[in-house]
Symmetry: C2
Subunit: 336 residues, 2 copies
């Protein structure tokens, strides 16, 4: 049901009844080393190209998801996902492998949350029994396309972020046990005229603030409804900016109530500049540690806000600023 201006409430409480995550070698040395199901030992993942390795991540994570649910691909009704590579070929080609009816969804790094909202909508209204949703990114494939091939060794400013090599997928279903999806807010596109593609966190923070503010308003909630607000990949700079923007709107988000996925994947000693990023960043964190903590009730209620920078290398060359978006999904541990 629509609630407020741009939000949904899911009365049937669709269940995320299984989830799986797969990542690369660099992520294996990070904070989620014990939370991720499968690590590939090198960035090629036995594939001839980085784009096909990206596809491999999606295939592995979706396969693990159905296996954990004791299902097969043919039992799944719909697959909703997307990625940053031009025309989303890694996701398209993975869909050719598993053959699940496919709805391509793209809002850059907000794809994970937008797709989860759509999946919950379908399941809530019995328009699907099982939907697999999530997102992936691959450091070398994405960096090559958006910036420079990593082999060039181009220097980056400290505001830059590190594209995560990883995939996180979940199975949203009418039955089963697991965390439930209760609410969503679909974001609108914001643009505060930021145009530095090496400072995405600053560009994306206003979108996160806008969606969070509208989520609370639409659902008539206050911040204390949630144990945690989890942002996608604002990084250090964007995270601090989000707290500042909200304070100016008289919304007081406490430091300890806000976790950013981009700051939760890598260890302190891994030099990832301002933090992790990429479509896979928020999905990897959601469907690993957050999923575990919501399943075992270490967490009761979170608001997951994934943010996306809707630029392209070409729009940057054409001197356009960076439009941004954020979608929010509320997830609760079962029976809360």
């Amino acid at each position: 049901m629509k609630i407020g201006k741009q939000s949904w409430i899911f009365n049937e409480k669709p269940v995320i009844s299984a989830a799986a995550t797969v990542a690369g070698p660099f992520e294996a040395n990070g904070k989620l080393a014990n939370e991720i199901d499968l690590f590939h030992k090198d960035l090629y993942m036995n594939q001839p190209t980085y784009e096909q390795a990206h596809q491999q991540l999606i295939e592995d994570a979706t396969k693990l998801t159905v296996q954990k649910a004791d299902l097969r691909f043919q039992d799944i009704d719909f697959f909703i996902s997307g990625d940053l590579i031009n025309q989303m070929t890694p996701t398209n080609f993975a869909s050719r492998t598993h053959k699940i009816p496919f709805i391509g969804s793209f809002n850059a790094c907000a794809t994970s949350a937008g797709s989860l909202a759509l999946a919950a909508l379908m399941v809530n209204y019995k328009s699907a029994n099982y939907v697999i949703t999530g997102a992936a990114s691959h450091n070398a494939a994405v960096e090559k396309q958006f910036r420079y091939p990593t082999e060039y060794g181009a220097q980056k400013p400290p505001t830059a972020q590190w594209t995560v090599t990883g995939a996180g997928f979940g199975l949203v279903s009418q039955t089963g046990t697991g965390p439930v999806v209760t609410r969503a807010t679909i974001g609108r596109v914001i643009d505060l005229n930021q145009s530095d593609p090496f400072n995405m966190g600053a560009a994306m923070a206003p979108a996160a603030a806008d969606t969070l503010k509208n989520h609370l308003k639409d659902h008539q909630l206050t911040l204390d409804h949630y144990d945690l607000i989890v942002t996608g990949d604002l990084g250090e700079i964007g995270r601090n900016l989000l707290i500042d923007i909200l304070r100016k709107e008289q919304i007081y988000l406490k430091e300890e109530q806000l976790i950013d996925a981009g700051l939760s994947i890598y260890s302190q000693d891994q030099n990832v500049f301002s933090g992790g990023s990429g479509t896979g960043c928020s999905a990897l964190y959601l469907y690993s540690q957050l999923y575990r903590k919501l399943s075992n009730k270490e967490l009761n209620r979170i608001l997951f806000i994934a943010t996306g920078a809707l630029l392209s290398p070409l729009s940057t060359l054409q001197n356009q600023s960076i439009p941004v978006i954020a979608h929010a999904v509320a997830i609760e541990s079962e029976g809360v």
Copy 2:
């Protein structure tokens, strides 16, 4: 409600209560000259780049749509659309202009049908009052990215298609008058190992056949349920191939029951090789002539099947074949 393996039935019959179309100078000399709302006199459309002209098409068509419905952008709940340009910047930037909460959707040239299915789903379950959906493409922006800048004058084989410069959008709503959306089938990704990007029609025909076959099976219908089957942009070659493939499956689609949008936009004397194509092709045709004929009951029931080739220039260079998809939406004139 889900019906069969991969289909939906919309019992509340969401209404397409307004629609608008905008196109370029070449389309102004075609068959739809009297059906399209607005033509731009040149391909730049008063913009500095072709990509921004592409954005202009979307902005014009969405604005005309809300004007026809006597609404304003702020009355619209959600915008669902996407395009072929890398990271969908024309659609993203248009969303920044109208500020409607935005769900990016991408299945190449199947985007128009996939997005319409999602819009109908939302409206059917009162998860939206008003959704604007549709798609656009721009010949020079798309050709430059996928093939060569048109100024190079590269020769094309007769199997090639011509990217449509045009936008078609509709307003899907709970109330109002107009054609209604009654059914949908979400396609799966098919790949018969076709790898020639200059012969998309042949690549896409098997996806159209698969989705049509599954649509009839899921909804327990026969072909005669529909006045017309309308495909997106198979062109001459793909259209004939579709009839052949179906015949082998004992589904006898008559020549006169099948119309292809790609063959319905340009005149005989316009040299567009095998026909029109692009995300805007099927949308331009649906929201102009088909919308008019469904509104005035010249047509009672159509099945609109948009097909998408899920390749990228890079996947072609990497010697990958072309995965394809088709989504189908049934549209009926009101009160049928």
